[in-house]
């Protein structure tokens, strides 16, 4: 029983223990706040990538694309693990932003995406991103203002090309002249000798920000058929660049991808010897994670780096607890001798000081976790207050794709950090406790030691 009473009394009576408790609390507080915010940011970014891509893609990096996609789409859509699939034309284009018939504003490179809005909404978050056609996705590429022009969907950043564009969700009355370099199935220029380019005007009908700068800076959605014609992919056997796929909810990502790979390999075996069949061999099947592996792996690396950095903070907690327990052991050497003289074993003496370290961990981690939780709950109102009073904003929302600072506390992360804090304290207390256990009672009870 004294193994429970004594550590608690040491904790309460010795002021130096307050230092250890505060140090542990501070470490746990910082780790919980930073890891929660970082974890929220990275998982938010990952979710956006996932939402933009779907679960899996079958595609080629070649601008020529690949053929016979409709046959493969039939196979995909009849597979029991596939919920939906969307063929997409992707091509770099030149975009001229036209304010009126005689006023050309600017021109930039853009990324054209030709989609069937209904099919693409079933696979990705496209329908949810639309500001004005969320309930009427099929009509997204038509405009009552300009019935003679096909519509296109742009994003905030692309509108940002216009210096006087509105920052709100209003769609400006502008036209994009989109110019493409159409290619044949052999990779040659499709209109050699006839003017090498295709240009088509599109009226901006809606905006659809994904929340990722990588896509929002230049993506322009047009209808699948318009894009196919603009890129010359309707010449000969029709071509596309990518198929985006969504699996049924209970399908594991890797298993789903493997099944798609199997279906694709099977399809290639039966189709590769047809005209333009060699284009199929350039096609890869990738999960959304490996499709954007450069970003996803960077995010994972960043998270691991943060974990490593914060494990260094754990070392600081270990060191502080070590010093404090060492001092307690030094101050309480007489107690060690007394306990041993009444028959306490070395293990039990060690348990007293380990118990002390454990209590420092429990109280420190508890206070830190409580403080961290409260801080996270109020982090956005704190940031708002700082902005209102000092014009200080922690996260520049034009840089970070977040509406608010992520503060969703993950139970696993939260409990993991608390356990980590307590474990760090036990590790810090271990060496002094062993030293206490090894002390000979007569050394500590001698008059000269008192």
């Amino acid at each position: 029983m004294y193994k429970l009473i004594l550590p608690f009394r040491y904790l309460v009576k010795k002021r130096i223990t307050l230092l250890a408790v505060l140090a542990v609390a501070l470490c746990v507080f910082v780790v919980i706040v930073v890891m929660t915010v970082l974890s929220g940011l990275t998982s938010g970014i990952k979710d956006k990538y996932h939402s933009f891509i779907g679960d899996c893609v079958v595609g080629s990096k070649s601008l020529v694309g690949f053929v016979y996609y409709e046959e493969f789409l039939d196979r995909l859509e009849s597979a029991e693990f596939v919920q939906a699939a969307s063929p997409v034309i992707k091509s770099p284009v030149l975009v001229n932003v036209k304010m009126s018939a005689d006023r050309m504003y600017t021109n930039r490179m853009g990324q054209l995406m030709g989609i069937d809005p209904i099919r693409h909404s079933r696979v990705t978050g496209f329908g949810k991103w639309l500001k004005h056609h969320r309930q009427n996705v099929s009509k997204v590429f038509t405009s009552p203002d300009e019935p003679n022009l096909p519509g296109c969907v742009s994003v905030h950043a692309a509108l940002g090309w216009l210096a006087d564009a509105n920052a709100d969700d209003t769609v400006p009355k502008i036209t994009f002249d989109i110019t493409s370099l159409p290619l044949t199935g052999k990779g040659a220029l499709a209109r050699a000798g006839m003017g090498l380019i295709n240009t088509r005007s599109f009226y901006v009908t809606d905006i659809a920000p994904v929340g990722l700068w990588r896509f929002d800076r230049d993506t322009i959605y047009v209808s699948f058929e318009e894009a196919q014609a603009l890129c010359g992919m309707n010449l000969g056997p029709k071509r596309i660049n990518v198929i985006h796929i969504k699996f049924k909810p209970d399908v594991d990502l890797q298993i789903g991808r493997d099944k798609v790979t199997e279906l694709w390999d099977d399809f290639v075996k039966t189709t590769a010897n047809r005209e333009y069949g060699d284009l199929l061999t350039q096609v890869k099947v990738k999960s959304w994670k490996s499709y954007q592996s450069d970003v996803i792996s960077a995010l994972d690396t960043e998270r691991m780096m943060m974990l490593f950095i914060f494990s260094l903070i754990g070392f600081i907690a270990v060191f502080i607890v070590f010093v404090v327990v060492y001092m307690i052991v030094s101050h309480k050497s007489k107690d060690i001798g007394i306990l041993k003289s009444i028959g306490a074993s070395s293990v039990n003496v060690a348990a007293v000081f380990l118990g002390f370290g454990f209590l420092v961990g429990v109280f420190g981690a508890g206070i830190g976790a409580l403080g961290g939780w409260q801080f996270l709950v109020h982090i956005n109102s704190i940031e708002t207050w700082l902005f209102e009073h000092f014009k200080f904003r922690l996260w520049d929302q034009s840089v970070y794709p977040i509406g608010s600072i992520p503060n969703q506390i993950e139970a696993k992360l939260f409990s993991g950090i608390i356990v980590f804090g307590i474990t760090a304290c036990l590790i810090g207390a271990l060496v002094p406790s062993i030293q206490a256990a090894r002390r000979r009672p007569i050394e500590t009870l001698q008059v000269s030691q008192l």
């Binding site: 009473i5 009394r9 009444i342 306490a344």
Partner: protein, 239 residues
């Protein structure tokens, strides 16, 4: 295992028997020979005083007899069992159940109150669950000891709130809580004024008269004279 038998009046049974004890401590490059072949025996129910000058090795002898230290050479037997043959666990049991130490500087734990200090050896002898089952009995016993030592009103006080004499009486109560066969008292009056010291010695005498075996070390001849037998330690040997 050393038995914890009930205390007897003085008999001819030798309960503690030490022979050929040698002990030295390193002092710089040399060694200080403290005990140079001590032979010592205590019968059940005896009150023995070991007297000697300061630094003569009295406390060292007491620590060796109580299993707090080991001799370089020689043996200590308690009821025929050689302490050197006991495992660490059995030696802890011996210190917990068979002997009770009383120190010159009381050695009470500052964080515990008087009653908690007294029942500490009971806590040390059993686990948490064992303590929960016997804590009422132990506290009752502790309170009875406090009452017999005239400290019933001090049970909730902390050691720093007590006088030297009161602290030493608490230390005696702690030594007695597990009803040990042997009390080892190291200068029990060495830190007290003569009147208070005399009161402590009265208490030890009363304990001895009720059958408690006591070995006390002191540098003070007058204190030693209160014991039933006196042995002198000089130049590392009993004379």
């Amino acid at each position: 295992m050393v038995n914890n038998e009930p205390n007897n009046q003085s008999t001819n049974e030798v309960i503690l028997d030490a022979g050929g004890l040698f002990k030295s401590y390193p002092i710089g490059a040399t060694r200080l020979e403290v005990l140079k072949g001590v032979d010592f025996a205590v019968k059940a129910g005896e009150f023995v005083a070991v007297v000697g000058a300061s630094g003569s090795g009295k406390s060292t002898l007491l620590h060796i007899l109580g299993g707090l230290d080991r001799p370089d050479k020689g043996r200590v037997r308690f009821r025929g069992v050689d302490l050197a043959s006991l495992s660490g666990r059995k030696l802890n049991y011996f210190r917990n159940k068979t002997v009770g130490f009383v120190f010159q500087f009381y050695h009470l734990l500052d964080e515990l109150n008087v009653l908690e200090n007294i029942v500490l050896p009971v806590m040390a002898g059993i686990g948490v669950l064992g303590w929960l089952s016997c804590r009422r009995q132990a506290k009752k016993q502790g309170n009875e000891l406090l009452e017999s030592l005239g400290l019933a009103h001090r049970s909730r006080h902390k050691p720093f709130q007590l006088s030297g004499g009161e602290r030493q009486r608490v230390a005696i109560a702690r030594a007695l809580i597990n009803q040990p066969s042997l009390i080892l008292a190291d200068e029990p009056t060495g830190n007290l004024d003569s009147a208070t010291g005399s009161g402590i010695l009265d208490g030890l005498e009363r304990l001895n008269s009720s059958g408690q075996t006591i070995v006390m070390v002191s540098h003070d001849e007058q204190v030693a004279a209160r014991a039933g037998r006196i042995v002198r330690l000089a130049d590392g040997r009993l004379v």
